[in-house]
């Protein structure tokens, strides 16, 4: 695939990767290097979190405690949840891929505040070090830290609170940086309606990070204060209200699922047109639905609390709002599907993962109304149905989007191509393993198995065994994929500047991009989805 346009700088060696030595990384102000550091860090935590998940599945092979005590099981599911949420899925796409590609997408040399960007990474690093430090007395509270249990637990909750506060700060600063970057540093001619949809997703995400994260920050401060000073906001014996903790927690933690999913949706919106050779269908609808989801996401936090003894009015309002936030998500799915219509579709790994995202996200999305409707929520809440729904949207959604992005941009980030055959084998294993693991959990949930159970009644045995087998297949897929990435890094074929013949700006930079990104700031004259012929 020889150069598509004369504008493109051909990859001349290692680009932004030329400089060597740890100092060139630790003190770098280059958004690409900072993004790469986030990607490495978060991927490691993804793998660690995955190991915990496998240990959980292993224990659930038998109804009775066999390999670990109940306490150990509880520690494992807490660590699985907390690591996956706070150290992988929240930072992975926004801070990792976002850092790398926002400036490249909008035609800027860097983010608005490069020093702040580096500081964000190190605050993040401090946060995860503190969290690792809290393992001296590992948490057994679940990643939701519900009071009063978390206020009484003998585990190092105070330390962990501090760690999550730091992670939150990093997240806020990154979001702030992106907002300003997108407002102020777009290349000439890059109007809002010429922005790639990934940028719309990232912008909406950043808004949520800036608005919602401080609330969870202060919530964890209050939890720490409750343990240190005996402050009683959440302590019923002092007149406090444990449910207030849940309000604060979910005011952040519900919008934050959109921090996870919106950038992934952005990636899918990038990948689908490129591999269908068609313009994206309904650009404005996709762009504005990202914003609508981000804002609407703030109105629905109460649906995590329908059985928490909330007032009937609050239950009704939050249920209604929950349903409305489903509409813009549905719109996106319809638009992606319509983009495929009359395309010329190829199935390279990024496209496979993007299509998988849509497929699994539809399952996750359509199981949402069961949980949004009050009466069925009362039945299904806190059962494996919720676990399955959550994993279909977050792992089937966000993680598949993340993998689509990694495969799509791997040539750009590293200057090397991946082995397509191995990538497809990995994809097949992941797809099958995922569905076997998590679809079974819907059945478990409908049959009434509560979540967070170290031991369970024998009648749930069969499904749990099937699910565990699925998780092994899934893990095998992930391993093959990791191996493929490492092989690609070491000896992948050199990548051209634009292997996928895509139109967005990052492909005009070299692979890997030079530190300055572009030889000169590009002048933008059209949107990035001009595929196809106008009168085809």
């Amino acid at each position: 695939m020889e150069g598509v346009g004369r504008m493109e700088a051909e990859g001349n060696g290692r680009g932004y990767l030329s400089e060597r030595g740890w100092k060139s990384w630790a003190f770098t102000l280059d958004h690409k290097r900072i993004g790469a550091m986030y990607l490495w860090t978060t991927t490691v935590f993804f793998l660690i979190g995955g190991v915990f998940a496998l240990l959980l599945r292993l224990e659930l092979l038998s109804p009775q405690a066999r390999y670990f005590s109940n306490h150990t099981y509880n520690v494992f599911f807490t660590l699985h949840g907390a690591m996956m949420i706070f150290l992988f899925i929240i930072p992975a796409i926004p801070s990792g891929l976002g850092n790398f590609f926002i400036p490249l997408h909008i035609g800027a040399r860097d983010v608005a505040f490069p020093r702040l960007n580096l500081a964000s990474y190190w605050v993040f690093a401090a946060g995860f070090l503190v969290i690792i430090g809290s393992l001296v007395a590992p948490m057994d509270t679940g990643w939701t830290f519900y009071t009063p249990y978390s206020a009484k637990s003998a585990a190092a909750v105070t330390t962990l609170s501090l760690g999550i506060f730091l992670i939150g700060m990093s997240s806020i600063l990154t979001g702030l940086n992106f907002i300003v970057t997108i407002h102020k540093l777009r290349a000439p001619g890059m109007t809002w309606h010429r922005l790639p949809l990934f940028i719309w997703g990232m912008y909406s995400t950043s808004i949520i990070q800036v608005i919602a994260t401080p609330v969870v920050g202060v919530t964890f401060l209050l939890l720490a204060a409750e343990r240190i000073f005996g402050v009683g906001f959440f302590d019923p014996t002092k007149g406090g209200d444990p449910v207030l903790f849940q309000h604060f927690f979910w005011f952040y933690s519900h919008p934050v699922v959109y921090v996870m999913i919106l950038p992934a949706m952005g990636i899918v919106s990038e990948v689908i047109p490129v591999f269908s050779r068609k313009p994206i269908f309904g650009y404005k609808a996709i762009a504005y639905s990202s914003v609508a989801i981000a804002l609407g996401g703030f109105l629905v936090w109460g649906h995590h609390m329908f059985t928490s003894g909330m007032s009937p009015l609050a239950n009704a309002i939050f249920s209604l709002m929950t349903f409305f936030v489903a509409v813009p998500t549905a719109v996106k799915v319809f638009n992606w599907t319509a983009t495929l219509y009359r395309g010329s579709i190829t199935f390279e790994a990024p496209m496979l993962y993007a299509l998988t995202f849509i497929f699994l996200f539809i399952v996750g999305g359509l199981t949402g109304p069961f949980l949004g409707a009050l009466a069925t929520n009362v039945q299904l809440h806190d059962t494996y149905f919720v676990v399955a729904h959550f994993h279909y949207t977050m792992m089937g959604g966000t993680v598949m989007g993340f993998l689509a992005g990694l495969h799509y941009w791997f040539p750009k980030m590293t200057g090397r191509m991946l082995n397509e055959k191995v990538a497809r084998v990995a994809w097949a294993l992941i797809f099958v393993g995922f569905n076997v693991t998590f679809f079974t959990m819907f059945i478990l949930g409908v049959r009434g198995m509560p979540r967070r159970y170290a031991e369970y009644l024998p009648k749930f045995h069969t499904e749990n065994v099937i699910s565990t087998i699925g998780s092994a297949v899934l893990a095998a897929g992930i391993l093959v994929m990791c191996w493929n990435f490492l092989q690609g890094l070491r000896k992948g074929a050199p990548a051209p500047a634009n292997p996928w013949r895509a139109l967005s700006l990052e492909w005009r930079a070299a692979s890997p991009p030079e530190t300055e990104n572009f030889p000169e700031i590009p002048l933008v004259t059209e949107w990035p989805y001009g595929y196809g012929t106008p009168k085809g």
Binding site: H183, I211, V215, D241, V243, L244, H247, F251, F298, L299, W301, G302, M305, G309, M310, S311, P312, L313, A314, I317, F318
Partner: protein
């Protein structure tokens, strides 16, 4: 970039005096028992003071719509977390 002028200094001092007066008023009113109205009056005065600070000290008055947006935006969410939480705690 607007440069400092005598006018902006005079405006700053005028706002300062207004803030002092309003502080005095709110303290004096608090000694009178108005029932629930004490809270309303106190919050009203505080909001006037806050607006003065934002408009003049923080130059919101002459800012672009973008900055206005970012200044007002969080207040919507403040209202949201308050009302959302109260819709539960007040009506249980």
């Amino acid at each position: 970039m607007a440069h400092g002028t005598g006018h902006s200094r005079r405006a700053g001092i005028a706002v300062f005096v207004a803030l002092l007066l309003l502080t005095a008023v709110t303290v004096l009113v608090s000694y009178v028992d108005l029932g629930l109205w004490n809270t309303v009056v106190a919050l009203l005065i505080a909001s006037v003071k806050a607006s003065l600070v934002a408009l003049f000290f923080m130059h919101l008055k002459g800012e672009s719509r973008l900055v206005w947006g970012f200044a007002l935006f969080p207040i919507v969410f403040l209202a949201l977390i308050l009302l959302g939480t109260l819709s539960d705690t007040m009506l249980r």
